[in-house]
């Protein structure tokens, strides 16, 4: 697969995920119409749909089929709902106070900050409605136990030992300036970003029937990819080109933010991202199934400057 074929396939998969999201989102009606609308507004605001794509690709490695059963689609939707809610709450005046995201007004700017809180709550709650709903009508014990294991993994990785834990550490680091260590920063990257990538890979694996050892490998791949992705982000903030990235660069320096680059320098950061990325690629090779697309996806994520 060359780069052009990969990009065409990625576009196709993004559309497929958006179709899944559309089918899972509740129709805005009734006296709760506004919160349902705000969920839709937040979820259908574009985005790379990385987590659901990674989840379904990971599933396919183990299931040996391109077909996605209902429970896999449900978990793909659920993980994107979680990602969306985290952005909605991150943008709130009480958090980052952002008015724009992907060129559109943020959810709270459109619906007010009270409804912004509710929209995020509703998306998080709906993620688990969708995950539990995946089991509706299923009565074989094996599939049920996989769904329950997948739900436990997803909720752990999005919670206070996972993503929310990273957000907590990040919120507190903001006030600590140069006191932030490389260990703190790795904790934040690992939890705030990597945990949901790990969850995507592991949930896909669990639903596809991966064994314990394979799930550990998926976790390590997710961790490496998530951290490398964040280090690259820190690097690009210093050396990147605004136009290419579609966002402002130099914002970390302007905000006096401690980043991987301010702590380790460009060269060492580059080397670290490269090494994490290579290890992830090696680990991926040890898994079954057709890994071409997933491998190119990882490369496109953390090799953005090449």
């Amino acid at each position: 697969m060359d780069k052009k074929e990969f990009e065409a396939l990625l576009d196709k998969k993004v559309s497929e995920v958006e179709d899944i999201l559309n089918r899972h989102l509740p129709e805005p009606k009734g006296l709760q119409k506004t919160v349902l609308e705000s969920m839709e507004y937040s979820c259908l605001a574009g985005g790379k749909r990385l987590r659901p794509i990674i989840l379904t690709e990971s599933y396919k490695l183990f299931s040996g089929s391109d077909e996605l059963p209902y429970e896999v689609e449900s978990f793909a939707a659920a993980i994107e709902f979680i990602h969306s809610y985290s952005l909605v709450h991150d943008d709130l005046p009480a958090m980052d106070n952002d008015e724009f995201r992907r060129g559109r007004l943020t959810t709270w700017k459109v619906y007010g900050d009270g409804m912004g809180v509710l929209a995020g709550d509703a998306l998080l709650n709906y993620a688990f409605e969708t995950a539990f709903g995946a089991a509706a009508g299923i009565d074989d014990a094996l599939t049920l136990s996989r769904i329950v294991k997948a739900g436990a993994m997803l909720s752990e990785k999005s919670g206070s030992y996972g993503m929310i834990g990273g957000q907590c550490a990040d919120l507190e680091a903001e006030g600590r300036g140069s006191d932030v260590t490389i260990g703190d920063l790795l904790f934040i990257h690992e939890h705030k970003t990597a945990c949901l990538i790990e969850a995507a890979l592991m949930v896909g694996g669990i639903l596809g029937g991966a064994d314990e050892k394979e799930i550990e490998i998926l976790k390590k791949i997710g961790s490496n990819v998530g951290i490398a992705f964040q280090i690259r982000d820190d690097i690009l903030d210093v050396i990147g080109n605004t136009e290419e990235l579609g966002k402002k660069t130099g914002s970390d320096a302007q905000n006096d933010k401690v980043t991987y680059v301010t702590l380790k320098g460009i060269e060492e950061s580059e080397a670290e991202a490269e090494s994490l990325s290579k290890e992830a690629e090696e680990l991926l090779k040890s898994l079954p199934g057709d890994k071409d697309f997933l491998s190119m996806l990882i490369d496109s994520l953390i090799g953005r400057m090449r």
Copy 2:
């Protein structure tokens, strides 16, 4: 059972629930310590623990035993985590902007409003971690399917078709003044308050093995009790005694809030609460098991003025 015995038993059950909550809450440590502390602060702030008590009592009606298996304790904790998160987010500056609850500073006042958002998110997420965790180590298909059904019910009743839907309608009604109808108000009471009472009864029933018909009865009881409870609350706001209630009265009138009483008058509101309450008592009689405690609990909730 006389009133004194009931109250002693209620106190004992409150302690039992607080013990369950303590055992389920994560220990505050690591770089996410603050968010874990804020969860604990929010959950262990006292309160009547109604929802977990109703859930476990409902379970016992059908299981025929006073023993609570792990999954029942987990769901009892989960429903209280959901109730707690809803209060934490309700109190935020973006919502009701309340600085005190039960005589203590609200969570955001202690930890800041960014951490207040995260604390609520973490509790909601943790509720579902706990619910999915209830299935850990269980491999018989019947128990698994009950846990999954209970999780689906809990998440539906706390979501945008349930409690969050009611909060959305309530938030919007605030701006509409006298335009609010009795239908709007019933929707708000039904969703914002009754849905979690319904969930408590239904989840307990599902885990205890209630059949479809019994679960419908539990739902109706929960709906009646929740709405009657809110109507009484509106009545007490007008005629109640501040000291007895432990909170300010007349606040609805001060806020120009449309309530059941402003729309229907005291007498009709009283009659409506009475009729809902009586119907709930009758329905409860049709269920199996020892209903004495549950019946007195309902009476204590919606017969607070007698």
